[in-house]
């Protein structure tokens, strides 16, 4: 590439004095240096993967003028985050001074591993996950279309049978844990996710657990 083809086309100037022949090889080292310098610069400064986003719809703020009756949720689980620990209880919350039919609520601890929270959610939300599996098969077999697949999946998520999740955080919880939890909920195809404010008595329960 760097050599210039010589000879050829030299037939007619026999009598003329020839220019002094010098090496046609060019030293390419500086060029290579420069090329690699630029290469390193671009490799280091460029970002390839655009950041991804995870969307989360928060419940609208309740109108303070309107008193809303607390809704009775039959299939819910509440996660409580504190520092790097995660606790949960199922169903409604019963404080110690007003125990429900099964007594006061007791917190259970889990963790962010595949065997912890992921298994727990997969078991509790098996209704939606199984429904999704059936839909996946139908989609693969081209029995249903993309749009109806999405619609039916949303119907499954909205079904009263599906698991609803409430998230409460204390003032030591980190954003990482919060996002990790949301992520696990998305893996488990949870349709209703509601981050809500924590009650004082629940804080006491966490503090007792941590001790």
């Amino acid at each position: 590439m760097a050599e210039i083809a010589e000879g050829g086309g030299g037939g007619h100037d026999k009598g003329k004095k020839r220019a002094k022949k010098s090496s046609t090889r060019v030293d390419m080292t500086p060029m290579v240096d420069l090329a690699f310098l630029l290469l390193t610069f671009f490799v280091l400064t460029s970002t390839f993967s655009k950041p991804k986003v995870m969307s989360l719809v928060y419940p609208a703020k309740p109108d303070p003028a309107q008193e809303i009756e607390p809704q009775k949720i039959n299939n819910a689980i509440t996660f409580l985050l504190s520092e790097d620990k995660i606790f949960y209880y199922s169903g409604q919350y019963y404080p110690v001074n007003a125990p429900g039919p099964k007594g006061a609520t007791v917190l259970e601890e889990t963790d962010f591993s595949a065997k912890g929270i992921r298994k727990l959610l997969a078991d509790r939300n098996s209704f939606v996950l199984q429904g999704k599996e059936g839909l996946d098969k139908k989609l693969k077999g081209k029995q249903i279309q993309d749009s109806s697949y999405l619609r039916m999946l949303i119907d499954f998520k909205k079904d009263p049978e599906s698991l609803k999740v409430l998230i409460k955080t204390d003032d030591k919880a980190t954003c990482k844990n919060f996002i990790d939890l949301i992520d696990e909920l998305k893996i488990a195809e949870i349709g209703v996710i509601a981050p809500v404010d924590i009650l004082a008595s629940e804080l006491d329960l966490i503090n007792q657990k941590i001790k």
């Binding site: 090329a35 954003c175 992520d183």
Partner: protein, 220 residues
Amino acid sequence: MPKIKMPKSSPSIDMTPMVDLAFLLVTFFMLAASFRSSEPVEVDVPSSISDKIIPENVLLVTIDKGGRVFFNLSDPEARRELLLNMAVKYKVGFSEEQVNKFTYMSSFGCTMQELPGYVNMTGDERKSLNTAGIPYDSTNNQLKDWIYYGNIAALNSGKTAFEEAKSKGNVPDPNDFKPKFTLKVDNKAVYVHAQNVINVFRDLELNNLNFITSMEMAPL
């Protein structure tokens, strides 16, 4: 012992293929690169399985690990309108040059009163500046105004972009031109800080929020 004579060969190697390769890679990176914009803070974002790419038109609020809040709006047209509205509201004067500079700035985290000085700084000065972030407590909720006016400005410029796309004969989705509200939170930030910022959004009835995350593999 007789000396072993090595066959004499030229010590210079033909570097042409290497140069070819190097320049090929340089060209590739030059064309494929999108440059990292210099942000005033480094934020280490959590990871998630989400594969939704960050939308074009975003209103971004960054929360660093100390809980300081930074604001950014991606659309330069909307930024100009936003700054002019904010300048009127807080009675802070900006020169034409400062407005232009602001239009192409990245995130900023300072009070409205500090902003003219902040705009005049260079990138390195901004990084080393010790700010307290944008205030968002109930007595001095500047973040709320930034979000409120930012949303209006982004909606306006989105509307013009929508009309433009429509006049070209496309059938655009109006939702693509609306600003998306994104939060960039640090891994180590305490969630209460994020919650406070989220409550500012919710006060403005903006409930659909996005968290910026890095990608991780979904479990099988």
